[in-house]
Amino acid sequence: MGSSSSRLDRVPGAKDLMEETGFSETNILCLYDRFEVLDREERGYLRLEDFEAIQQLAVNPIGDRIIGAFVFPGRETLDFPSFVRVLAHFRPTDTTWSRSGSQPEPANSRTRKLRFAFSLYDQDGDGKISRAELTEMLQAMLGMQVTDEQLQSIVGRAIQEADLDRDGAISFDEFKKMAASGQTGLKSVSSIMYRTKQQQQQQQYICGEGGTEQVHLKHSCQTLMFIFC
């Protein structure tokens, strides 16, 4: 359809992004629309405040870590290509990709996904999940339900289970091993499922109050999936 290709021209660098991340045309368009919605002041890039304005994310226990994955500390703004690159982690794993190619490892390979998950834990970026980081994470998730001693015991047990070289912290390799071995545990698969339906004319923007926007996209992107095992 003629209309879709002209819409694609709106998106800067769409073709390169598609090649790099493997998203399809409709996906890119979806994401761009969402980007535009978040970017209310139409600056062309997103700032921290825009993320924090998403109300649901604020009540999410690890909301700040998720935002941190997008907006790295030290960088003020997030442009569209970076936005897409981070979300590329959530595509289903390509079974056809092989390691021997000259291209860099795509974002949705298993290792990259694991690394993304690892980075949610490892806030200071030293390549290890220390006791303190794990404690912080559990504190965020469990909230007021546990006392400090209980928390410490749980953390101690968790580290003991995964820590193979006994250095008191979980490195990325140990994390990978644990993810690979715990088949049933980490099979918690999540899928954000949409069906490709009709054209973009059917999308509607509904603005909530106080800056919360929830975009109902009737036509949608294809399956964005995050598979762990």
């Binding site: 998720i66 339900q145 546990v146 644990m178 954000i192």
Partner: protein
Amino acid sequence: NETTMWFRKLCHRNQTLVLEWLVETSHPTFFLSAWIINQSEAPPEPRPAPIGTHAEKANLPVFTMDYPRIQIPFEVTLWVLLASFAKIGFHVYHKITVWVPESCLLISIGLIVGAIMHSVNEEPPAVLTSNVFFLYMLPPIVLDSGYFMPTRPFFENIGTVLWFAVVGTLWNSIGIGMSLFAICQIEAFGVQDINLQENLLFASIISAVDPVAVLNVFEDVSVNEQLYIVVFGECLFNDAVTVVLYNMFNFVAEMPVVEPVDVFLGVARFFVVGLGGMGFGILFGFVAAFTTRFTSKVREIEPLFIFMYSYLAYLVAELFAISSIMAIVTCALTMKYYVEENVSQRSCTTIRHVVKMLGSISETLIFFFLGVVTITTEHEWNWGYILFTLLFAFVWRGLGVLVLTQIINPFRTIPFNLKDQFGLAYGGLRGAISFALAFTLPDNIGRRQLFITATIAIILFTVFLQGISIRPLIELINVRRTNRNLDTINAEIHCRLMEHTIAGIEDLCGQWSHFYWKDKFMKFNNRILRRILIRDSRAESSIVALYKKLELQNAMEILDTVSGDISAAPSIVSLYEEKKNAGKPKKMFLAADLRNMHDILSKNMYKIRQRVRSGIIWIIFLALLLFIYMFSLITQSNTVSHFFMHLYFCGLCCKLSGRT
């Protein structure tokens, strides 16, 4: 020979007594009761005459017997015991149970007992009438399956489960029915009098995959979780479709013409049946959960509520002729979460144990009686029809799985590969439900006996052939297996983390999927449902719950590995103290290590059991021979009794002389 003579004398004397009583009471299962009463009788010696009485006056009876009074409970107990002994017997030889599923063994024993009863011309107890089966024997099994169903994988796969259950069963029924009708047209088989409606009715009976048979087989073969859940869920939920189809075709079989409005009504009825079943289940589940909120003062009868409410859900659903299996499964699913937080630890354990026990007994009895009744019913065999039924059942299931998986794979996050599909198709065993439904066929269907025979043939075929061969086949083609023992804190933490992450990303992208709904439901649950249904409604994260459970397991295992004296083990408190004082956390044995140590120790130390095992086999063999000898005496068949007597003594001599 002296021993033989003595033995004969004893049996003759007892034989007369037994015969007298048989005449008086004329009850069906005489042989067991006869044997047991015989054993319990005092050794032959003259009874002391009461002092100071005349010969003419009727003496005070010292020993009386009133069998009819206790007949029914007595027989029920004996049958249950017999089936349970059979179950114990299987585990004597460990190798058998590895390769042959228990259902096959039970059916075999049932066949043997049925043969014995048939040769003595006795009627089996009428337990596989449809009422007894559907009202008493089926609910415990379904409750067992529903209560122990893993909820998270189930809800993640619920679309697939419903798809296979509904569409799969429809496909199977209609396919098999049509093909059989086509076969009926061929003159050579002599079944031309079966019309389309009757064929469809029969097809709807045999297309239902049976939870009892399937679970029995699948539990030993640890396939991957997705496959297990889909097969499991399919068996439980295809009941709704089966009920509707069966009733519909039953109704229609009597009508000469089928109108389109009937088909439409059928569809409407399906929704009523399915949703009604689920609705009742949820209703009773919530009521049960609410009741347990107030039972803190009556801890002893807490488990009772669980059973009563689930059974009530089942019965009410049966009252309205809607899917009772779905009702009881949904009830158990809903109830479990809230009840386990309200009741005490002991009640929780009791509930789990009793549910498992009842389920196990029912299952054993069902298979056992399946074997018995197989021999004792009248059969009408028709080679063509039955063989083609087998063929079509197999073919249509395979096709069905193939086609349906192709359609639903794009919607699944973990698609089924070909091996999984094979497992799905091959694991479609038929069982007792089909059998009971066949018995409830109305008498005005001309070929009722043929249908019953064909149903039995299919059940035996699938349970024996597919049940026995599924394990080697699955290992051969290397279906993805699961390692079910991995229960770690890390896994739980990561699961939670992933759920939160995905929920967050969804919010970011402004798209919703089932995670959004799950999140919404959890919030609703926490805010409203828990407040109403749970006594102490502080939400406990699954991480904390799992941690507690694992710690408890570890504590028990530490105490376990210390041989013998628990008081010699270091107390948990002192371990904890040491741990706090030491800077680094002290190395505690991981659960897996402890288990390994335990295994090694027990395997190496108790070799003495080997010899005892063979001894038990001998005893069972000799006891069986003795049994048969008793019968032969009772039936006064001299040749048989001679033969068995000789066998018995040969066996005894061999054993005594040390040969095995």
